[in-house]
């Protein structure tokens, strides 16, 4: 495992190739599942939680909140996973036996404090927005994803999306946003 971590850099993760994604998934999977088994959820739930922990980890790599890996990838996955497991247990209303300290459920480990962990169901407005976002052109979707998901600055978007200048990015972005707003308004009347 350590070896794997050394071989996989933050940049490779951010590049997000299918191969890297799969490798990291496979390398940490059984270790995670063994760790999760002590909490007595079903194996299917454990796999589901592993995937969700992986998604949270990956999102925070992509949006730059995890700027450097101070621990091994599995350590991050465990911490996120533990948080998600407790969350799941609370939702399942399962009693937690033994020495698990439920008072800490709401507080993720310290290293997670800066990460985005929560993902709640979309609101009505968000669902409407979702519908119209899908109908945007590919270039608009890409630009907005760079901006809101990756947390890129205008300058970074210029490089990543091959735009000629920052102003081109800015006006493209406001056009995309305008289209979105207009379509939503058309639909609400």
């Amino acid at each position: 495992m350590q070896e794997t971590d050394k071989n996989i850099t933050l940049e490779e993760l951010q590049a997000g190739s299918e191969e890297t994604l799969r490798k990291v998934y496979e390398d940490n999977r059984s270790k995670f599942l063994n760790f999760a088994r002590r909490y007595k959820l079903t194996e299917e739930e454990n796999i589901d939680i592993y995937q969700d922990a992986y998604i949270v980890f990956y999102e925070n790599i992509m949006n730059g909140k995890l700027e450097n890996l101070t621990s091994s990838i599995s350590t991050y996955l465990f911490s996120i996973g533990k948080y998600l497991i407790f969350d799941r247990m609370r939702k399942n209303k399962k009693t937690v036996s033994g020495s698990y300290d439920l008072t800490r459920v709401g507080e993720p480990d310290e290293q997670l404090s800066t990460l985005d962990l929560e993902r709640s169901d979309l609101t009505r407005e968000q669902k409407l927005l979702q519908k119209h976002f899908k109908d945007l052109g590919a270039k608009c979707q890409e630009l907005l994803t760079f901006f809101y998901y990756r947390g890129y600055t205008i300058q970074e978007i210029m490089k990543a999306g091959n735009y000629n200048s920052e102003n081109v990015v800015k006006s493209a972005k406001s056009r995309c946003m305008k289209t979105l707003k207009e379509r939503i308004q058309e639909n609400t009347y």
């Binding site: 994604l21 995937q51 600055t153």
Partner: protein, 245 residues
């Protein structure tokens, strides 16, 4: 300060503490700023959701690949997989029975014909896990590689701290593979009495172990319970019961 720039900096996680204060203040006092922020923040959530969904379906794909490649990772709580495994075993078993037409040359023979070691369905041993030096892993590696003496030693050690149904069951399996049927029976009994997931499997193997030591009545008792349980090798047990009687 340009409000648009402030929002941009917020979404690229670049607000200075001073800007953060201004940002919070504007959210409370400036209705238009708040509306614009809500809209952009909603958009952010929508994109996060979309990206998460895409990644999730990729991971589900990886998972399917793994489950196909290493059936040992199938958890023992998945009844459907049990059913599949059991019906395949049943088909093979029945076919074999029909083909060989029970010769009646003693119960050991019957044991030999039906004993097939139970696969490791509990602990996934995959590549790239060399750093995992847990006792559990070592025990299952020994089990899978038929190093029975080693497996017995490791599962016995594991049982001291982790006396679970699965550990008991695989320790019993290891004894049976190693030709120590009596020892296996004691442990299978423990598993049977747990009344958990492994009960029907334990009944099947306990019955076979009794056959091996020529204890017909006990074998019949186990097969009868197994047929009543109905979760595993029911028809095969039924057929063997008939043969025994």
């Amino acid at each position: 300060m340009d409000k648009e720039q402030l929002l941009n900096d917020y979404f690229s996680n670049r607000l200075t503490p001073e800007q953060e204060r201004l940002f919070t203040e504007l959210l409370e006092t400036d209705g238009e700023f708040k509306r614009q922020f809500d809209f952009e923040n909603d958009l952010k959530q929508v994109i996060r959701e979309k990206e998460a969904k895409q990644l999730k379906s990729k991971l589900i794909g990886f998972e399917e690949g793994i489950q196909k490649e290493v059936p040992a990772t199938a958890p023992f709580t998945v009844y459907r997989k049990w059913a599949m495994a059991a019906s395949i075993a049943l088909l093979v078993g029945l076919g074999w029975l029909g083909y060989n037409n029970f010769s009646g040359s003693g119960y050991i023979d019957m044991y030999e014909r039906h004993f097939q070691e139970y696969p490791n369905t509990v602990y996934a041993i995959t590549r790239g896990e060399e750093a995992d030096t847990s006792l559990e892993r070592k025990a299952f590696v020994a089990y899978e590689t038929n190093d029975n003496v080693q497996a017995i030693a490791l599962f016995t050690q594991l049982k001291e701290t982790k006396n679970t149904e699965a550990v008991n069951f695989y320790l019993a399996q290891s004894y049976l593979k190693n030709g120590q049927a009596e020892k296996a029976i004691v442990l299978f009994d423990e598993t049977i009495n747990e009344k958990g997931e492994f009960r029907p499997q334990a009944l099947w193997y306990a019955a076979l172990a009794y056959l091996k030591i020529n204890e017909k009545e006990n074998a019949i008792r186990m097969f009868t319970d197994l047929v009543a349980d109905g979760r595993y090798k029911k028809e095969e047990a039924f057929k063997l019961l008939k043969d025994l009687e």
